[in-house]
């Protein structure tokens, strides 16, 4: 049973529709990440769900009860929706102590004093803030304030928590810790979590399912992180998920040619099936880690290229390889690279694409103009 249903909702900001006809169901107990580039409307979605803004069309259901529906003139106030929210800037009240912050939602919901205290202490323990009960937020670090916000959300709803880009302001290490913690909490308590972020890495790390939104506020793909990573639906999703290489290929009656600066070059051994309905212009998509570069004389296959730049980063090598006028980025684990031999800058090499994907190219793709 879905805990949240959004049916064909449209949200306007001024005259522009930020979200236009979006539908989404969130399953009870799941950890759903909503990912998209900045200003794609994901925060708007969360604000509509929480009741901070009205929707122009469609309806939102919480626990099968309608909370927003302009056609039926229903707009349940935010305080009656029972959603725990963690805001991007934490929104921890600076004049309350940690304990007062966390106990506030229960005070508003008339939970008996003793019980409220107990639950607040438990929530503080869950986020490891029990030693800071009497501190003011100004005496806490960003990461700690975030924990307070999380604890406050946990006590204000045992069913649904929405986190809006909550960890983008933290440094990498804290961010990672926080991501683990959120995932842990969700698994142990069983609360439904909607997690909004523009960082696909965190989203993949913590979610059961993720929703990829595009700049126009529409859903591009929905699925488990594994599914989406292994089978991005289109080239935009592919590109959004991480560093990617696209090479233009021409399909001429089943034989593939790479469009290069020196004219067409035969391209053999794709290792991926090409759907029949694709036209003649294709894009080969590959991840830097799924490409193998071998110095030329020893090469067994692949296309020819020239290593333009070699950068040592400790745990890995970064190569920029020129393949027929296209720059291909390659990353190789440094232990493996040392084992196989690091190519020198300027030397010719063979480039093999290990797990490529194929997409139909945009008719105006400039990569074909070489």
């Amino acid at each position: 049973m879905a805990i949240v249903s959004m049916r064909d909702i449209t949200v306007h900001y001024g005259k522009n529709a930020v979200i236009d006809g979006l539908s989404l169901e969130v399953e009870r107990g799941e950890n759903l990440a909503i990912v998209g580039p900045s200003s794609c409307g994901k925060t708007t979605l969360m604000r509509a769900l929480c009741g901070f803004i009205k929707i122009a069309r469609g309806e939102i259901l919480l626990n099968d009860g309608v909370v927003s529906s302009p056609s039926r003139r229903i707009m349940v106030a935010p305080e009656k929706r029972n959603i725990g929210v963690v805001f991007q800037d934490y929104a921890v009240w600076p004049h309350f102590t940690v304990f007062e912050n966390i106990v506030y939602p229960m005070r508003k919901r008339k939970v008996p004093k003793e019980e409220a205290k107990e639950r607040a202490l438990a929530a503080m323990a869950q986020v490891k803030m029990q030693d800071f009960a009497d501190r003011l937020p100004s005496q806490l670090s960003g990461g700690q304030q975030q924990r307070v916000a999380l604890a406050r959300a946990l006590v204000s709803s045992s069913e649904l928590i929405v986190l809006d880009e909550p960890i983008t302001n933290l440094d990498a290490k804290l961010r990672e810790e926080m991501a683990y913690e959120i995932r842990n909490l969700q698994k142990t308590i069983g609360v439904t979590v909607i997690y909004i972020t523009h960082d696909q890495e965190t989203a993949m790390t913590i979610s059961d399912r993720m929703v990829i939104m595009d700049k126009k506020g529409a859903i591009r793909q929905l699925g488990s992180p594994e599914e989406i990573w292994n089978h991005p639906k289109d080239r935009d999703v592919y590109a959004f998920l991480g560093v990617s290489n696209f090479l233009p290929l021409l399909n001429e009656n089943g034989s593939l040619h790479l469009v290069s600066s020196s004219g067409k070059r035969k391209f053999g051994g794709l290792g991926a099936d090409i759907p029949e309905d694709f036209g003649s212009r294709l894009l080969l998509a590959s991840r830097p880690t799924d490409i193998r570069v071998t110095p030329l004389p020893d090469a067994a296959g692949g296309v020819e290229g020239v290593v333009e730049r070699v950068t040592y980063l400790g745990h890995q090598f970064d190569y920029f390889v020129n393949v027929g006028g296209h720059t291909v980025r390659v990353q190789e684990d440094s232990l493996e690279a040392f084992g196989r031999g690091v190519p020198a800058e300027g030397s010719p090499c063979a480039v093999e694409f290990l797990k490529p994907a194929v997409y139909e190219a945009d008719p105006l793709d400039p990569r074909f103009d070489l």
Partner: protein, 370 residues
């Protein structure tokens, strides 16, 4: 001659609380002509202070600094050459481009100070703008430009006088990650063209490794290690350097009769050849997440249990419990093991370090505040 020599350079500060802090402690170094040298360390380690002493913005408490064969700061002789007479180029973290001057005038400033004739000035400014990809922007004001372009102005301004030494004070940390990478290459390209000596201050290890010919790691005001990026990464001289140069696990272990056991729990030794001269006692076994093999086949490594599996973009991260301690393991996609199952861990390149006292960590935190 553009080598840089620092002899016994020491800098003491008195903090607001009246404490004496040795920001830089007996720093001895010779930077070779034409090399790119990085100062790497956490904030508060004294790297920026050292750079500012070389630039002439800070006085020395002791020691001397030579640019080429000219002394510029010699404490014992009370010799101090002001920054404007040291003939250096410098780029700052916050860009420090002058908002009241347009791009052309920003870049022309060093030449105007020197009263360069008009035609020559114009020619040199345009050349510098060309090298930094700013042609056509000379009439624009910095506030109309992006962060990356502003940093390019700063670069153009610093190369226009053709200095032999370039000081870069975290020049990339105010830029977004994508830009950071491309600016890195631009700096490198400029250096190749003009052949100046670079001192590059950063807290980002991948930046330091990607850019520098040689580098040093500083901690608590002292130089810990000097070497090429590869030497440093492959042979960190202590735990701090190991941890600073990449992701790391430190497994607490105990040595008994030349064999290594986890600090608590099992009686099974970890296969590892101790360096010479290690006597019985406690220590740390350091490993990198990507240098650990993971399998379910018995006999392929040390037994552990998978506690958590996280899907990330370019790898899968496992949290593996080994005798009560959790280490992180990164494996390529495809090798999927379920959470909760037993597994075998193979350290492919482990290192042994003595432990570090907690006092040191506290001191680091304290120095960051100052």
């Amino acid at each position: 001659m553009s080598k840089i020599t620092l002899k016994n350079v020491t800098k003491e500060f008195v903090t607001r609380g009246g404490h004496r802090v040795t920001a830089v402690d007996n720093f001895n170094l010779e930077i070779r002509e034409g090399e790119c040298f990085s100062f790497l360390g956490p904030s508060g380690c004294g790297k920026t202070t050292t750079l500012r002493m070389i630039a002439g913005f800070e006085d020395l408490t002791e020691g001397e600094i030579w640019l080429g064969d000219k002394p510029v700061s010699v404490k014992s002789k009370n010799l101090y050459v002001p920054p404007e007479e040291r003939g250096l180029g410098m780029v700052f973290q916050a860009f420090a481009v002058w908002p009241h001057l347009n791009v052309f005038e920003n870049v022309a400033f060093p030449l105007r100070v020197k009263k360069t004739p008009r035609d020559e000035l114009r020619e040199r400014v345009m050349t510098a703008l060309g090298h930094t990809d700013l042609q056509g922007a000379e009439k624009a004001y910095p506030s109309d430009l992006s962060g990356g372009q502003q940093q390019r102005i700063a670069l153009a301004r610093s190369i226009v006088t053709n200095p032999r030494v370039m000081l870069l004070d975290e020049p990339l940390s105010n830029l977004d990650p994508k830009l950071r990478e491309s600016m890195r290459f631009e700096i490198k390209a400029l250096q190749k063209k003009f052949n100046f000596t670079i001192i590059f201050v950063t807290h980002d290890q991948s930046e330091a490794m990607a850019l520098s010919d040689r580098m040093l790691v500083m901690d608590l005001g002292r130089i810990i290690q000097v070497g090429t990026p590869r030497e440093m990464y492959q042979n960190p001289s202590n735990k701090f350097v190991y941890g600073f140069l990449g992701l790391s696990n430190f497994l607490k272990v105990r040595v008994r009769e030349g064999r290594v056991f986890p600090a608590e729990g099992t009686v099974q030794p970890i296969p590892f050849e101790l360096p010479e001269g290690v006597s019985d006692g406690e220590g740390l076994l350091a490993s990198r997440p990507n240098e650990i093999g993971l399998s379910r086949t018995e006999g392929t490594g040390y037994p552990g249990r998978i506690e958590k599996r996280l899907y990330m973009t370019f790898c899968i991260e496992y949290h593996v419990n080994i005798a009560g301690q959790v280490i992180r393991v990164h494996t390529p996609h495809g090798n999927v093991l379920p959470e909760g199952c037993g597994c075998f861990v193979q350290f492919r390149n482990p290192r042994w370090y003595a432990g570090e006292s907690e006092q040191v960590e506290l001191e680091r935190i304290e120095r960051q505040v100052i």
